[in-house]
Amino acid sequence: MKAVFLRDLRLAFRAGGGVGLGLAFFLIVCTLVPFGVGAGGDILSRIAPGIMWVGALLACLLSLDRIFALDGEDGSLDLLATAPLPLEGVVLAKAAAHWVTTGLPLVVAAPLFGLLLHLPTPALPWLLTSLALGTPALSMLGAFGAALTVGVRRGGLLLSALVLPLYIPTLIFGAETVRLGAAGQDPATPLALLAGITLAVVAAIPFAAAAALRVNLR
């Protein structure tokens, strides 16, 4: 599993690997919104939690099709399926690599980008916490979508249509955590629910994604 994880990390950092693309996209979203709604602080700081979370979600979506599509095209997936590592382990390792190259940079950069959106200072730690707890679920669900669409040519759009609805619970509780934090209230409840969703997804999705891969390999 470590071998697959390290290989995906290495590939992401090589030419054409696309590390940092999600982060750049996230920055652009956070920059564009003030141009669109006006830089007047009040409206912006009220919608900031939602914008930050929607932005993070879309940034995650960008690189999802890389998880399995490239390996499917060049035949690596067939070879991985005959390797000693079970496909469930392959899914877990690849989703983890996706999170490290896409989710983790978002988590680290989000408080800084929050300033662009006038996000109230008390909300910043909650933004960091909620993204840290929520983005692993985004990578994991994305791996499931990528496994379903691995044989489909130009499957990116189909992948988005499949995966975005699955992101809704994470979005609701993630944005709610930040909103409560911004309002100075206690966000423990949505945060606990957010963590619960992530745990359930990490526990269940490897099996679902591996089953989807087995069907697609035939």
Partner: protein
């Protein structure tokens, strides 16, 4: 000595249609079997079934679990990684060490290319790297689909000697090909007589939910 692979009255299907049926053969350690037959008869499907990538429609495949090293039409190489890195990844996955990687590079004459990105290789060199992967898997049963495509005459000889060394160590090889591999000692099985009757159904009804978990 127990056979490495026993195939009994096997029928395989591609896209819901039977390809070949009633195929039986046995592979003992040290033996190689070459599958022949016209395009589309189901050589690749048969090999993928033996490799465990799909289920047989009928019949049995008996082999030791985790004994198959499969090499298909695609080599599974990453252009952004060097030759040595590509090979080291598979070695790590299959639990082989640095020494086996070096030996595999030498065996297929890739030593000089070790630090070259795989994207810079020619088609024949890529193929050789794909075959070198077999050596680091340490698996006894090689299942090879058209292994010598784009290899030049010297490389075909290299490949033949790699297969021979593998057989001498008690391994076995099942190879689908149209060309002469330089392995006169290998048995040949022509699949033409086993072509399935297209009117017959492909077997079990497809697309039950549970098939994903079989």
């Amino acid at each position: 000595m127990a056979p490495l692979l026993t195939v009994t009255m096997l029928a395989v299907a591609r896209g819901g249609r039977r390809a070949v049926e009633g195929v039986s053969f046995q592979l003992d350690p040290g033996a190689a079997l070459i599958l022949r037959g016209p395009n589309g008869i189901g050589k690749t499907t048969l090999l993928r079934t033996v490799a465990g990538l799909q289920d047989p429609v009928e019949g049995r495949i008996d082999l030791v679990p985790d004994s198959v090293a499969y090499a298909g039409h695609a080599d599974g190489l990453k252009g952004a990684l060097t030759v040595a890195e590509n090979l080291a990844f598979w070695a790590q996955l299959f639990g082989a060490g640095r020494a086996q990687v070096d030996a595999a590079l030498r065996a297929l004459d890739l030593g000089d290319l070790a630090d070259r990105p795989a994207a810079m290789l020619s088609a024949g060199q890529r193929r050789r790297l794909g075959l070198a992967r077999l050596l680091v898997t340490g698996r006894p049963l090689w299942v090879l689909d058209e292994p010598t495509v784009s290899l030049d005459a010297a490389s075909v000889l290299l490949f033949a000697s790699a297969v021979r060394a593998h057989l001498a160590c008690g391994g076995a090889a099942l190879i689908a090909t149209h060309v002469d591999l330089g392995l006169p000692e290998a048995a040949v099985l022509d699949l033409t007589p086993y072509r399935a009757d297209p009117a017959r159904p492909a077997g079990r009804a497809p697309a039950s939910f549970d098939e994903a978990f079989g």
